[in-house]
Symmetry: C2
Subunit: 329 residues, 2 copies
């Protein structure tokens, strides 16, 4: 088998021959067709996490076909890999053994991968392989944030910040699919326009000072807010939230939130909720939703695995809207 391995920090990925994987009882050997990139892959390459073990096979997102017959799957059946490893026994939060697939566990950017039966799922039939590879990590994170944590219903008005990112774009697709009205923010008018073309109702640039005021007036305020930034802009989110609103944070790229007002928190009866990835149960619920509404993840561009370093460079540039996919086998 071959795998896209990071040999050392700050080095290009190498497509290397590796020892063949052997599934044990209860494990599935999957021949990977497509994988997709996530910020996590970049952050590992850039050495931004503690405890990185090298060399490692990157990749959290993958789709492929089953190689070995198992109790649950036929040989040749198309499956999606759950990017959440060893979530634990509680649906409230991940346990201490939890990790995201790909470093230290060998990831999806390889011709083959072995996963426990419980972390492999039938792939939605309406999706191409490219679309399927784009779903797992971003879809799972968006699903848990909006539905498991945010209890989103069709009657909620939704704001998604930083549209264009994988989780934000999946959030837009999932929320509009159930009939919720979705608004967005971005630093780029092009990304806002694209979000509206995808079913969004409207948007504003977070580069303007009064985006909160503008959006609140235009929309009437938001019941569910999905944010991956934090930082000073978070206080604007508390302003545009309706009473009883839920603001769900899945990231903090803009750093810590300064001067959060407890008065605003209690008087508006807000729920400020943190959410990371999701459990296999969340993943199953995501797939049920994707099947029911025939949701198609947004693929920005597909690179052959021979150009994997070009794929990483493109992803790092931040031009994409939707996922960057790698075609493997």
């Amino acid at each position: 088998m071959y795998a896209a391995q990071l040999p050392a920090l700050h080095q290009p990925i190498e497509w290397r021959e590796c020892r063949d994987l052997q599934p044990e009882k209860g494990e599935i050997l999957v021949k990977v067709s497509h994988a997709a990139l996530n910020h996590r892959d970049l952050y590992i390459q850039e050495g931004l996490y503690a405890g990185i073990t090298l060399p490692c096979t990157l990749g959290s997102d993958g789709v492929g076909v089953v190689v070995n017959e198992s109790g649950a799957y036929q040989q040749g059946e198309r499956v999606l890999i759950c990017p959440s490893v060893a979530w634990g026994s509680s649906e409230k939060a991940q346990g201490k053994q939890f990790r995201v697939l790909g470093m230290p566990d060998p990831g999806t950017m390889a011709t083959h991968i072995v996963r426990p039966e419980a972390e492999v799922f039938p792939c939605p039939k309406h999706l191409t392989d490219e679309e399927a590879a784009a779903l797992p990590l971003a879809g799972l994170t968006a699903y848990r944030a909006l539905f498991t944590q945010g209890r989103l219903t069709r009657d909620d008005r939704v704001l998604i910040t930083g549209i264009g990112g994988g989780v934000a774009t999946m959030g837009l697709l999932l929320a509009t699919a159930v009939g919720a009205e979705v608004w967005v923010t971005s630093g780029s008018q092009e990304k806002i326009d694209k979000a509206i073309a995808l079913g969004g109702k409207g948007g504003a640039s977070y580069k303007t000072d009064d985006w909160g005021k503008t959006l609140k007036k235009a929309s009437g305020g938001f019941d569910v807010l999905l944010d991956g930034a934090g930082g000073p802009g978070y206080n604007q989110l508390m302003h545009v939230a309706n009473p009883g609103g839920r603001i769900i944070s899945y990231g903090g790229t803009a750093g810590s939130i300064p001067k959060l007002s407890p008065q605003k928190l209690f008087w508006k009866q807000l729920h400020l909720i943190g959410s990371t990835m999701g459990s296999p149960r969340d993943f199953a619920a995501l797939l049920a939703l994707v099947n029911k509404h025939e949701i198609r993840p947004l693929v920005d561009r597909v690179f052959p695995v021979s150009e994997i370093n070009a794929a990483f460079d493109y992803f790092r540039s931040g031009q994409q809207q939707g996922k960057v996919v790698v075609s493997i086998g």
Copy 2:
């Protein structure tokens, strides 16, 4: 009738004769037996709110007997007044018409009060009048925070900050009644000892630098945290919260929360929840819980209404643990 009225800001309360109240259809005239003090009454006297109308009859907490026969109540029946006025149609948050009883609506520190039938409830039979008067505002706030918002169960370990205050003490009584393990913080060792005598498991002084570390080690971490302070100590609460923990804020006496970490929020899957008072439905649920477990609110001291200004002075001094009650009729 007579009422304890605030004639002007920063002035003593005056016990004055007023025009008799006449209930309209659907309203109940209650002859008040006991009322209780809340910080809100002090804050009005000190002019700390916007839009104070004077003179006004203070008081949010009251118990008494029904004077007029109505569809729902017999004459002479003992009733508790719901301190929440015109909550609105949503259980998620109060509506725009919501107000706390007492200024601008005539409050409970009077011989008589008129309230809509839907905001009057049968008084739990196991309570004395003094205990009953101590229940409404603090009990309703603690109930909504812990149960409606915090979804408290007997399996949760609870931390209550600033024990000694009315809401904090009621929170301790409600949470221990359902079988939850409760820990506390206070600036006073005496208040911590009293909380332990009331059923608390342990506590720490928030005046020590490492109270969070100490408490986390001693307890194992907390699932539900009840806080009326905010301020810099809030970050310690996020530290001592278990993954998936709920921190419910009902006040912000220590001011805004500096540098809140979105990373800690999302990685621990925390829920930071704001909560104010409660709806009539919350009040009914509080009374059901109080009846079921025969919970008795903690009364610190009872003053006759002729000494109402002494009662305010004593309350302002902060020595009390439990409620300060005024005996009226």
